[in-house]
Amino acid sequence: MKFTHAATVAAPRDKVWARLMDIPAAARCVPGVASVRPSGTDKYQGTLAVQVGPVRLVLDGDLVVTARDPSSGTASIRADAKDSRVGGAIRAAMDLALSEKEGQTELRIATDLAVMGRLGEFGQAVIKRKADQLMQDFAECLARQVIAR
């Protein structure tokens, strides 16, 4: 499934970039993220707890920054996570792009999400809705963090 999300942060691009590239701090802006730890160069390990109605998932996985270019404000991140109890996994390839306009920064995230195994039985509509909510919350939180500093 592919989707894009966009958010505007009332701060200059370099400030947003710096915050975004502090992966453990930025990851805390995703609701349900716990314990993001570095596990190598540009590699992180973490857990995401997601709930849809009565169904609770705990996705354990890795996050890798596969590309970054501060001058153009773009980065690519790949995440692989699985819920071994439920028997399903997700794989997400995210392309981030920051663009500045009149002192404000627009953050665009294009995501290609594959849902495998049992999790796929959920249905695209529900997964997409959840992804929308998570991304929205992430972007708003990031904006607040950047402005607060």
Binding site: V52, R85, R118, R129
Partner: protein, 282 residues
């Protein structure tokens, strides 16, 4: 699946079990949704609390004020075949009769349906259009809420974990009110709707619209109340309905899925709302 199965004989006992096991307990009503979720491994409670032996949760009957009470453990089929429900509102019976197959209707309960909160279900929009309220019990006591305060998102209700739906109460229907439930089913007859419309309407003596309630199913994360259309037609002569229908596009929020694209559903919401209102003003 690995769990302990409990069959309390009273609501107090059921609430006690929920209190004791907290998050690790899950209620079981008819089982049509819960059994599938558990078999798929998506739901993994340590304790299943079945409500089938709690007698006070059953029944379908008229209330003293001319309304209707539906017990949370009443099955869809019991509502479908209830003479009291038919006398109260044939459209309500239509909505329950529209659900899936006879087998599912024999097993699935009204309370379970509301607690499951699938946005494409048939009963909730009709219950909302009729102004239904839901009674909920917990160790903290009892509260009632309008049925459209229950579903807050896909498969998510506003209920606390230790709250149990005990009944649905429908108010007496004002004389002169007409009701309709329309289900657009382009695929198979046992499916969920692509779009459904539940509507009630009453005209004043001068022929203008005194009351209108329009609730759509399957076009949002919860049943959608068509407030813009309602506001636009209230107090208006019925010939104004056509102008107002287009506003439905702003109220609905459908998604692409197997039952249709978001664009198609948005258009069908308009078409079928128009048909429902035409039926009510014929």
């Amino acid at each position: 699946m690995t769990f302990d199965y409990h069959e309390p004989r009273s609501l107090a006992e059921a609430l006690d079990l929920l209190g004791r096991h907290g998050d690790d307990a899950h209620l079981l009503a008819g089982g049509t949704a819960t059994v599938i979720l558990m078999r798929q491994g998506l739901l993994r409670p340590g304790h299943v609390v079945a409500l089938r032996a709690v007698a006070e949760l059953g029944g379908v009957s008229r209330t003293a004020d001319g309304g209707l009470r539906i017990g949370a453990m009443a099955t869809h089929r019991q509502v479908e075949r209830s003479a009291d429900a038919l006398a109260y509102s044939p459209a309500l019976v239509d909505a329950f009769a529209s659900v899936a197959t006879v087998r599912i209707r024999n097993q699935a309960t009204v309370g379970g349906n509301l607690a499951h909160a699938d946005p494409a279900q048939d009963p909730p929009p009709m219950l909302a259009a009729l102004g239904a309220t839901v009674t909920v019990r917990s160790p903290r006591g009892e509260r009632t809420l309008p049925v459209d305060g229950l579903a807050v998102d896909h498969f998510t209700t506003s209920l606390a974990h230790d709250e149990v739906i005990t009944e649905v109460l429908l108010p007496p229907i004002e004389p002169g009110t007409r009701e309709a439930y329309l289900k657009f089913l382009p695929r198979t007859a046992d499916d969920y709707a692509t779009v459904s419309v539940a509507a009630t309407m009453r005209l004043a003596d001068d022929g203008t619209i005194a009351h209108a309630r329009i609730v759509l199913g399957a076009v949002g994360p919860t049943p959608i109340r068509a407030r813009r259309v309602e506001d636009a037609i209230r107090g208006q002569p019925t010939r104004r309905i056509g102008d107002a229908i287009a506003m439905i596009a702003d109220d609905v929020d459908p998604v692409d899925d197997l039952r249709g694209s978001a664009v198609y559903k948005r258009e069908m919401a308009r078409v079928w709302t128009g048909r429902a209102l035409a039926q009510l003003t014929r």
